[in-house]
Amino acid sequence: MTLASVVIVGAGQAGFQVAASLRQEGYDGRITLIGDEPGLPYQRPPLSKAYLLGKIQATNLLFRPADFYTTQRIELLHDQASAIDRLNRRVILASGAAVSYDHLVLATGAHNRPLPVPGAELPQVFGIKTKADADALAPLAKAARNVVVIGAGFIGLEFAAVAAALGANVHVLELGERPMARAVSREMSELFRQAHEAWGVHFDFRQGLSRIDGDNGKVCAVQTGDGRALPADLVVFGIGVIPNAQLATEAGLDIENGIKVDASLLTSDPQISALGDVASFPCLQNDEQHTRLESVQNAIDQARAVAARLMGKPAPYSALPWFWTDQGDLKLQIAGLSNGYDSTVVLGSVEDKQVSVLCFRHDRLVAVESCNRMGDHMAARKILARAPKLTAVEAAADGFDLKAWEAANRD
């Protein structure tokens, strides 16, 4: 199977990595990478943290410098794909041009779920998705006195930590009852709540907002769901994302909370793959239910799997999911998926903010959340990648050490 041309729609982490991995695998055909943002492909994770604090310069966000695309013969098009002509295997671009493909890769990512309240259109209200968002937000974050964050997920809390470090009063509104409730255990939520409060962040749980008030076109207050006015000169929201599946939907591909793909990341059209934030794949670690994961690891590992398949080395996608978030002096690393966990074992010291939470489901280890315990995280990745035999009783024993267990149980 020789493909003369691979077209990749989306130049984020997943799309970029497909292009880079294809060349690494020795693909010699044409690669077209279509991105709708200006500039060169870049990494997004620092946008809500280190980049805002000026710890990372813009050039260091880039995956590769400009000459990489020339030497690797990756044609980078700054355009938007407006339609897929599956019959003639062409992608129609917003500029009117069309690009032919032998194989098409959809890595269109996701966009921020918009804040559905009056006042959300004010210029001091931000979601953080693109470098342009972060560039516009950074000076306001430095000057802000009263910041209201909507949503206590990863992005919201990363920004809350940044804003607190920059000296603002920070108030977080969260509809759920604890921080990062969809992503981490109760125990880890509690550690992060306490840490943020120690940095001066104020939380309002089970609380939404009804509107954002402006004065002469500038944000001045956030009205909470229960009728209080919180002073605000900056509002940042992170209330989830919506997969960019419109192109695929209009092309008639199967959709199920994103673009539905099979275990090899092929869509319902065998000439089209999808991966990354937009793809809903049968996830080994989630009982093979179709799952969409929004993470760097997922984007990179799926990209490698797609590139390998296109080079004649197909294998069902099975990589262990892992995630990280940096908030203040806390690094949270998660290995595995804790969905439906029914018991936990906590290792380490909450006081020292060095804790690992082992999450079990039916007495099988399914995820390990580590805060400032990188050794545990790395051990957990090794353990979870094999079928773990570790039981909750064993882990709860006095003096249990995850790294030592990993070392003693290598097959």
Binding site: Q43, P46, L62, R64, V296
Partner: protein
């Protein structure tokens, strides 16, 4: 601009110019040195930018600290001169430094 030399496990040598203040990992990936996937992009979260600092240059770098040290425990074939290159920040005195790449990052 300091120049760094990366030597792949198979002996292939790459001379790379880096900017002061940039990480060694970034200088390597920007120059497409193979064998440094650097999956997490420099957040000290993945241990896939593992390098061996040439013995002659060890005095020019600090020993790995807390979190890097923890991550390195799980790097493939760690040695005394192992460093995560995302945590090595290029300075003028590193001009000429030689780094060796492990046979695998996973």
């Amino acid at each position: 601009m300091p120049t760094l030399t990366f030597i792949e496990h198979n002996g292939t040598t790459h001379q790379v110019k880096g900017d002061i203040g940039q990480s060694v990992m970034q200088a390597a990936t920007f120059a497409s040195v193979p064998g440094i996937p650097a999956d997490c992009g420099g957040a000290c979260s993945c241990a896939t930018c593992h390098t061996y600092v040439d013995e002659a240059w060890l005095s020019k770098v600090q020993a790995p600290e807390g979190m890097e040290n923890d991550m390195l425990e799980y790097a493939f074939e760690r040695r005394d001169n192992s460093r995560l290159s995302c945590q090595l920040i290029i300075s003028q005195e590193m001009d000429g430094m030689v780094l060796h790449l492990p046979s695998s990052q996973f």
